[in-house]
């Protein structure tokens, strides 16, 4: 078999092993959570009778080992079970949430990744000159502000102040002003529904996309810059320079391909963050994603849902890292053709 296929197969097997280990951790983690599912569902005002009735109905009195294996068995057959709290099918409610999360992550990544890499390349091209410093200053500032704060700032300026500002611009013709008012609307509530067109959906999540872009930009940009600068020290870059190639062409054709491995790793890490780590942004914009869904069920001790979410997050993380590994191998001729 081709060595690369063997390698990919190995990585995949390892990934599954990791996922299995993660499933045990998730199960143990949910088992040691303090509190009680029945109490959490019924709240402060629950009567003891109601609690006892609910506990028996949910079957939370069985031993943990039994529950783990019956859960794992179900998962392997594609059955995630039903939520304890509202009796809904987990796979069904989860798929729409996962869809939303991926939708947001996709658009944020589509903007953030090319932007970060371009900015990184530019920073290398103008190293230590003002464009480099400006790019670094801006991206480092945005990564240093907590994401909820960026969210609130954008809401304040774009969805609350901007319409007031436009409304107050008496010098503009009324037609233009009302056109601006209706088209420059940044929704502070990112609620989508199925009856919306794609454009409307993207419009409703403009602010979360902006926040996420600002949050992940710096990490990827800095890594691109550092990795390429590292390569720029090499002898073959000097050769290219002596050949008389332009700076941007050298970076694009000679330096970038050799810096791909670290960049891909960081990009994947950030993509994983966009999928599994955006609960704060979801809360600020009331976006119906996976994070909020997970947190709701953790607070209600709805263990099957927490386990399902945990497993999906683990799978996303492991999967993206797997891709990063494989891409870096493919990008490196020495790893591609081992002796």
């Amino acid at each position: 078999m081709h060595p690369i296929l063997t390698l990919v197969a190995q990585r995949l097997a390892l990934g599954f092993l990791l996922l299995f280990a993660a499933s045990i951790l998730i199960f143990v983690g949910t088992a040691i959570l303090p509190g009680d599912v029945a109490q959490s569902i019924l709240g402060q005002s629950a009567t003891p009778e109601a609690l006892a009735n609910l506990r028996a109905e949910l079957g939370v009195d069985q031993p943990a080992i039994t529950r783990y294996f019956s859960w794992l068995g179900g998962v392997l057959q594609g059955d995630l079970g039903t939520a304890l709290t509202n009796g809904r099918d987990i796979a069904e409610s989860l798929s729409s949430r996962l869809g939303n999360t991926l939708f947001l992550a996709f658009w944020a990544a589509l903007i953030a990744v090319p932007l970060a890499i371009t900015l990184g390349l530019l920073a290398v091209r103008y190293k230590d000159r003002w464009p480099d410093k400006l790019i670094s200053a801006i991206t480092l500032t945005t990564i240093s502000i907590p994401e909820f704060m960026i969210g609130y700032l954008l809401i304040f300026f774009l969805s609350i102040q901007l319409p007031l500002l436009i409304g107050g611009m008496e010098f503009l013709p009324d037609g233009l002003r009302s056109w601006l008012l209706s088209n420059l609307r940044f929704s502070s509530v990112a609620l989508m529904n199925d009856s919306m067109t794609l454009i409307e959906k993207i419009k409703s999540i403009t602010l979360p996309i902006m926040v996420l872009t600002l949050v992940v930009l710096a990490h990827m940009m800095r890594m691109t810059r550092a990795a390429i600068l590292n390569v720029m020290q090499s002898a073959y870059i000097e050769t290219a320079e002596l050949k008389g190639l332009g700076m941007l062409k050298i970076i694009r054709k000679h330096a970038f391909p050799n810096a791909i491995a670290p960049i891909v790793n960081v990009v994947m890490l950030n993509l994983a963050y966009l999928v599994v780590g955006v609960v704060v942004v979801e809360v600020v914009f009331a976006y119906p994603g996976m994070g909020q869904y997970l947190v709701d069920h953790v607070s209600k001790r709805d263990v099957p849902v927490v386990q399902a979410c945990g497993l999906i997050f683990a799978a996303v993380y492991i999967g993206l890292n797997l891709i990063a590994d494989i891409v870096s191998i493919l990008a490196n001729p020495r790893l591609r053709h081992p002796k």
Binding site: Q39, T47, G87, S188, D302
Partner: protein
């Protein structure tokens, strides 16, 4: 009206533009002066309910774990939903009287033991079935039978027998209760076809709206029920309930006009928010209160001198000022305030008195070991800060109060009603009897101060069956004084309901029963076009 004109007319109502300027601008847009003036009038006063449009509500207290089962509703978003699609037998009216819904009238026997509700005729459920007394009976059975998980189980306890008798629903009690109709106003007791026995989560009721979109923890969409029986309610064609748990997200949505009504405005921002031109902050005093509760049967809180020392040590005015930012009123260590019927105003207010606190502390003979107060952010908004204020004033009286901060997660199962001294809150009940029977009766499940006094129980039962209001008031007054001087609750403040209402919304009234006009803003308010 086109957008430019609408914008101009709202500028006039906000006082940013004069009437004369408006008519001039409108003329420039090709509108005659007469039409422009009438447009202004509609923007300014908008008399009477406006039918149609979509009313949007941003609410806290929603989670993806919510269901439409009335028995399980416990937080704001599910209750808002219930109020839209369902109605109970009666509601508590804003003035404290009864507002008849599924029942048309009610009659009591002389001993207040037998209550007969006449069921309204010609009312249909959303599925087309007619409302009958049997449906009412089945509903009440579902909330009171042995395997019920209903939040209303506690209040159904005193009922000995229920039956459907023609168009009447009859309740028989073991002990007379003059307040029984108020118990039937509980929001869990939404009348469902066959009592919801078939599918409690179907959201089929007799309410003004039908549930069209149900995404728990995200949004709920409702359409007007064309067969709704009461045309004084349900003005908007559609109602959208958006779950906005983050309080900043909620206020931003109201400010930017994405929703018309929001609940639970953080007192810290309420004053600032009220300055915004397009909305109003509505503060309504109610019966909800924030408490520090002690188990009177657990040392050191079994010593009344120590309890009194703590009660004198707390600075109530400071709490209302700093924790509620003035959106509330001071409490008197009893769970009743003037928002309740039959409240005795002559009960003296307990003052902040460090000398008395020190004196009682000395008399208690406490050994000086730290007294642990457990608190968490989730106990009530500002509970951690309130505990810190309490600690400071207690220390000034020489009482070694120590704060233990607990996680929000699991607070209601691990700390509240388990630990002997902790922060908590109560939502209040429509009548005194219900408040006392919920938390201060010996046998009450949520007796979170372990207040078990036979004489107190006897008084409560006597007042319950007493139909002479003056005598009832006198008994309630004794009970209140008793709790104030010996009980396990330190009640520094009653919190107001603080809601936000857009200027586009008409029909807002004060209702002390619960937030958002007893959660009925969705059916009583309308959107001005």
């Amino acid at each position: 009206m086109n957008d430019a004109l609408k914008h101009l007319s709202t500028r006039v109502t906000k006082g940013l533009m004069t009437r004369r300027e408006f008519v001039g601008r409108a003329a420039a847009l090709g509108v005659t002066a007469a039409v422009a003036n009438s447009m202004l009038a509609s923007a300014a006063k908008a008399a009477g309910p406006v039918k149609g449009g979509t009313l949007k509500i941003g609410t806290s207290g929603g989670e993806s774990t919510n269901t439409q089962d009335p028995a399980a509703a416990a937080s704001e978003a599910p209750i808002t939903n219930l109020r839209l699609w369902g109605e109970p037998l009666v509601n508590t009216a804003p003035d404290g009287g009864l507002d008849f819904r599924a029942a048309e009238s009610v009659e009591a026997s002389a001993d207040a033991k037998t209550w007969t509700f006449k069921i309204r005729q010609g009312v249909e459920f959303h599925n087309g079935k007619s409302l009958t007394a049997e449906d009412v009976l089945a509903t009440m059975q579902r909330h009171s039978n042995d395997d019920s998980q209903s939040g209303a189980l506690g209040i159904m306890k005193g009922i000995e027998n229920m039956k459907a008798d023609g168009d009447n629903f009859v309740v028989e009690l073991s002990v007379g209760n003059a307040d029984l109709p108020y118990l039937m106003a509980d929001y869990h007791l939404m009348i469902q076809p066959n009592g919801g026995m078939d599918d409690p989560t179907a959201a089929i009721g007799i309410g003004a709206y039908t549930l069209e979109v149900d995404e728990p923890g995200v949004r709920h969409g409702f359409k007007k029920n064309p067969n709704y029986w009461d045309d004084t309610r349900g003005h908007a064609d559609e109602v959208e309930v958006l779950v906005l748990n983050d309080s900043t997200a909620r206020t931003a949505a109201l400010q930017s006009g994405q929703v018309h009504l929001i609940n639970r405005i953080d007192p810290k921002v309420a004053g600032l928010l009220d300055r915004a031109p397009n909305l109003g902050v509505k503060s309504v005093s109610g019966r909800g209160h924030y408490v520090f509760i002690m188990h009177v049967d657990t040392a050191p809180f079994d010593n009344n001198e120590l309890r009194l020392a703590l009660k004198y040590a707390i600075n109530r005015e400071e709490m209302v000022d700093k924790i509620l930012r003035g959106y509330g009123s001071i409490g008197n260590d009893m769970p009743i305030n003037k928002a309740y019927p039959l409240f005795d105003e002559t009960i003296p207010q307990r003052e902040h008195d460090l000398a008395k606190a020190a004196e009682h502390y000395k008399k208690s003979g406490h050994d000086g070991s730290p007294i642990i107060l457990r608190t968490a952010d989730g106990a009530f908004p500002g509970a951690v800060d309130a505990a810190a204020l309490f600690q400071q004033s207690a220390q000034a009286a020489g009482i070694p109060l120590e704060i233990k901060r607990e996680p929000n997660d699991g607070y209601w199962s691990e700390v509240w009603n388990v630990q002997p001294f902790c922060a908590s809150y109560w939502g209040g009940r429509p009548v005194q009897d219900q408040m006392y029977s919920t938390a201060y009766l010996s046998t009450a499940d949520w007796n979170d101060t372990r207040w078990k006094r036979e004489d107190f129980d006897a008084k409560l039962l006597a007042a319950r069956a007493e139909l002479d209001e003056a005598k009832r008031k006198a008994i309630y007054s004794e009970m209140g004084r008793n709790l104030r001087d010996e009980g396990g609750l330190i009640l520094p403040m009653f919190n107001d309901f603080v809601d936000g209402v857009s200027n586009n919304v008409g029909g807002w009234i004060e209702d002390p029963n619960d937030q958002m006009m007893n959660n009925l803003a969705s059916v009583k308010c309308w959107v001005n076009a």
